[in-house]
């Protein structure tokens, strides 16, 4: 990726340009100390003077009133705030008329910023004050006061906090007066510019110590640049939060959100005092100290999938290269390319007006449809369809270009969704809520309606990243989520019982995850280990099995914040913190095993495991066999990994007389006690249910069942007595004391009763055995 810059021969402004701001993707306003405001039209390359301001107005900062989200018409949309050295800020209309001038600070007003919904304006001055103003320019409050000038200020994504500079320190202050203020020393020189991105929630700062730094919203340092030759005079996030731009003397830099630099340009601009990205994030403008306005657009972005490598060569052209046969195709577009995504055999490209869908089999005839609302901010692909996010909503399209669904929920804000907070699979969509980050909304991809009873998945911690598995039946769909503590959890999306979503922890210190595109294998970086969960579903079947199904590789070279770009086939592509790509190969056997299991070819699966001689593979097979109630295979697999106790239990299950009780014991085997009990009770096997509880020393429940069904009370009491005797304890449980009074314990009688129950069950099973044996064999 790099910047293609364009600079006029002669500067249009006579003095230094202090600030720039985009109105649309092709129109820019620039203000200069020659008191002029210029409008730059990029479509016809025209530049004209909007207005000549009074001689005493020296502009410092400008910010356009935000375009309202949700498509509502805004009366105030065509206005911007302009701050100046005389301590005033001015609300200026698009035509250049000063609608209102407000005396705001003593000394210059150094920064002015609207919040994201345009309800408030914040200004920071040389006098060290920060003030909040209403939309119409009425003073609401003075938020902060300090001894040194505030050079820059930025809103938090939720508009509840602000970030500002205080000399070498950065301060995050909530608007609520009583809340805690965060403050930390960020640089060794005075901080000149800050920016806070709403999509990835990261903070960017540039200072006179010639460095720029990236912070997370808690003030933890994520990246620090090497020192430049001159102070960093401007920083700006691209709207989608994937890249940012840094300006310094004769310097313009394009960096990844993790901080490493994609490209460096050394144009002859003087100091770049301000950088602004256009709303679609494809180009940026810089306010230059020598009166120039520099334009740059991002080109040479790359997408790779299997053997295809696609490069954005020009604004409207892409080059597709198939590395297998070196075939090159050129793709041309009518408008500027805004976003593109390549996965699952399809390339999806959005321009400012249209969406192009190419199949990797045919680059000549794309499917083209018009977009509802211009700028697409995110494309997520899955095997059967893809998801587009724009300012107005979330849309699921099939690769044939048909609108499949458009999920919505209360308080949805699409402008801040990113690849970490949205996930899609063939049948399910998951979206992390922004107002309450513990909540994940789940939708049916076909209908766009909430799944199940419509209740979202709620985790006990803030969720940072979500990912849905990509294949298998919809009923088995699972979601992996990483929470604020970087713990990895797995949960079933569609759950059979009416109980709460069970969310089970399967990893700690997980930095990044990705599902395979064709098998339900999860890869991730856990602490210093590159980890592959060959069969994450094992956690629902047999918790102890999970650690055995992992592949762990030392990945100390992946260092602090790696990011898994893709997991296609057997290859995991990871981007390191310094921007280099690292590839990891995963054995193909687990994928084959998954396929055998899903098609119930257990003989083949066994043969594969015997051939590969891998413990992890055997463990996966054991899990899969248990999940599919394939006891013979499970027995072999458990034997192979040396779990003798489990082999024994499986043998015990195999000898159980009826289908119901073996099903119940399978559930017990997986640790689902309640379901097991329910199964037995449904089948009318009350004694067996009681016995299950007795075996688990679950005395209270056993007694409760016995009393409730008025049977085997004495059995429970007898076992309890025996248990107490063995351990030399006295009865203290009040209920047992109460019932033991009236009941006589006679072991012979109890044995006879048990025998009778078992015989009854055997008898019943015999009548259904023909059917059940056929089913079992299948």
């Amino acid at each position: 990726m790099r910047l293609k810059t364009s600079l006029l021969k002669e500067p249009k402004h006579r003095e230094l340009v202090s600030c720039v701001g985009w109105t649309t993707a092709d129109e820019l306003y620039s203000c200069s100390e020659d008191h002029q405001i210029l409008r730059w039209n990029l479509l016809n390359n025209e530049t004209n003077v909007v207005v000549n301001m009074q001689e005493d107005i020296y502009p410092i900062d400008l910010h356009w009133f935000p375009k309202s989200s949700g498509g509502k018409k805004q009366a105030l949309a065509e206005i911007f705030v302009l701050t100046s050295t005389d301590g005033k800020f001015h609300l200026v209309s698009k035509t250049g008329r000063i609608e209102k001038s407000v005396e705001a600070h003593r000394g210059a007003v150094l920064a002015g910023r609207w919040n994201y919904d345009g309800t408030a304006l914040i200004t920071a001055g040389e006098d060290g004050q920060i003030k909040i103003w209403s939309k119409s320019g009425m003073l609401r409050s003075t938020l902060a006061q300090q001894g040194s000038p505030v050079y820059s200020v930025a809103w938090a994504p939720d508009c509840d906090r602000i970030l500002y500079t205080s000399g070498k320190q950065l301060i995050v202050k909530p608007l609520q007066p009583s809340s805690k203020v965060q403050q930390w020393k960020a640089h060794d020189g005075i901080i000149l510019k800050v920016d806070w991105n709403s999509v990835n929630d990261l903070i960017l700062s540039g200072a006179e110590d010639c460095r720029y730094k990236v912070w997370d919203c808690y003030g933890r340092l994520l990246y620090v640049s090497s020192p430049h030759d001159y102070p960093i005079t401007s920083v700006a996030w691209a709207p989608d939060g994937e890249v940012f731009a840094v300006g310094s003397f004769n310097t313009l830099r394009l960096c990844d959100k993790t901080g490493w630099s994609y490209a460096l340009e050394k144009p002859n601009t003087g100091s770049v005092f301000g950088v602004a990205w256009s709303a679609d994030g494809t180009q940026l403008a810089g306010a230059c100290g020598n009166g120039h306005v520099i334009f740059a657009h991002v080109v040479e972005q790359r997408w790779e999938w299997k053997s295809f490598q696609i490069t954005l060569t020009k604004r409207r052209a892409m080059q597709v290269r198939n590395v297998l046969n070196d075939a090159v195709d050129m793709l041309e577009f009518r408008d500027r390319v805004v976003k593109a995504s390549l996965a699952n055999g399809h390339l999806v490209v959005t321009t400012s007006l249209q969406c192009y869908v190419y199949s990797t089999k045919n680059w000549n005839t794309p499917l083209i449809f018009d977009l509802k609302e211009g700028t697409v901010s995110l494309i997520v692909q899955t095997e059967r369809h893809f998801l587009l996010v724009d300012g107005g909503g979330i849309y699921v399209y099939s690769y044939e270009g048909r609108l499949v669904s458009s999920p919505k929920f209360q308080g949805m804000r699409t402008d801040i969704l990113n690849a970490q907070s949205v996930s899609i699979s063939n049948d399910t969509i998951a979206i992390r809520d922004k107002t309450d980050e513990k909540v994940v909304y789940l939708f049916d991809a076909q209908t766009g309606k909430p799944l199940g009873d419509g209740k979202p998945l709620t985790h006990k911690m803030e969720v940072m990243e979500i990912a849905l598995d990509q294949c298998g039946p919809a009923s088995d769909r699972k979601i992996a989520l990483i929470d604020k503590n970087r713990d990895l959890y797995l949960s079933s999306v569609r759950h059979l019982s009416r109980s709460e979503h069970s969310i089970i922890k399967i990893g700690t210190m997980v930095k990044t995850i990705a599902w395979n595109d064709s098998v339900n294998i999860l890869s991730g970086v856990q602490d210093e280990q590159f980890t592959v969960w060959y069969y994450p579903g094992a956690v629902f079947v047999d918790k102890d099995l999970l650690p055995k199904t992992l592949l762990m590789k030392d990945a100390s070279e992946l260092s602090s914040t790696p990011h898994i770009l893709s997991y296609v086939g057997t290859q995991v592509t990871v981007r390191r913190v310094d921007g280099s790509l690292v590839y990891n190969a995963v054995s193909p056997y687990p994928a084959i095993l998954h396929e055998y299991a899903s098609t119930a070819r257990w003989e083949d699966a066994l043969r594969l495991c015997r051939f590969a001689k891998d413990q992890a593979l055997w463990a996966c097979l054991a899990g899969m066999a248990v999940a599919n109630r394939e006891l013979t295979t499970a027995e072999v697999a458990y034997a192979a990994i040396g779990e003798v106790d489990k082999v024994q239990y499986i043998n015990f299950i195999k000898e159980l007389p009826s289908k119901e009780s073996s099903l119940a014991h399978m559930l017990l085997f997986s640790g689902h006690l309640q379901e097991a009990e329910a199964t037995l009770m449904q089948a009318g096997l009350t004694y067996q249910a009681i016995q299950v509880h007795i075996n688990l020393y679950n005395w209270d429940r056993a007694l409760e069942l016995a009393v409730k069904h008025k049977t085997h009370v004495d059995t429970v009491l007898a076992h309890r007595q025996k248990f107490l005797q063995d351990f030399g304890k006295k009865e203290t449980n009040k209920r047992f004391l109460q019932y033991s009074e009236g009941v006589e314990v006679d072991w012979e009688k109890i044995q006879a009763k048990i025998e009778m129950e078992l015989a009854k069950e055997r008898e019943r099973a015999a009548t259904t055995s023909v059917r059940s044996s056929v089913a079992a064999r299948r």
Binding site: N250, R576, D578, G579, L581
Partner: protein
């Protein structure tokens, strides 16, 4: 000889026997003086012209010398600033080189990772063939 009474009256005759008030000799001398004066004035005028031309020339020379001097100073300054410019350019190029080096390092790491993958895959293939 007795004095000419005319002489006494202050009247004289010249050669052309015209009556004159001045003595012919004086008259002649006056005329001569007049001629000489005219000559002198002419000569002075000529001299002035020549001197004027000379001054002009010298002025021009001075001007030229001045411009040359300025030029020389300019050139000297330029020479000094070129060194600085080169320094700045060098700095810029150094920055660009550093950038490229970083990119190279990234590619190197990527290449190494790919080599490792290749080795792993070869090993896998070998193992696969051996076991068959």
């Amino acid at each position: 000889m007795a004095k000419d009474p005319l002489d006494e009256a202050g009247l004289h005759f010249d050669e052309l026997n015209k009556l004159r008030v001045l003595e012919p000799e004086v008259n002649q001398q006056t005329t001569e003086l007049k001629e000489e004066c005219k000559d002198f004035v002419d000569k002075i005028g000529q001299f002035q012209k020549i001197v004027g031309g000379l001054i002009e020339l010298v002025d021009e020379l001075a001007k030229e010398a001045e411009t040359e001097k300025m030029k020389a100073i300019g050139a000297r300054n330029l020479l000094k600033s070129v060194a600085k410019q080169r320094e700045a350019q060098q700095q810029q190029l150094q920055a660009l080189i550093a950038e490229k080096k970083m990119q190279l390092e990234r590619y190197r790491i990527e290449y190494e990772a790919l080599c490792k993958v290749e080795a792993e895959q070869n090993e896998f293939i070998d193992q696969f063939i051996l076991q068959k």
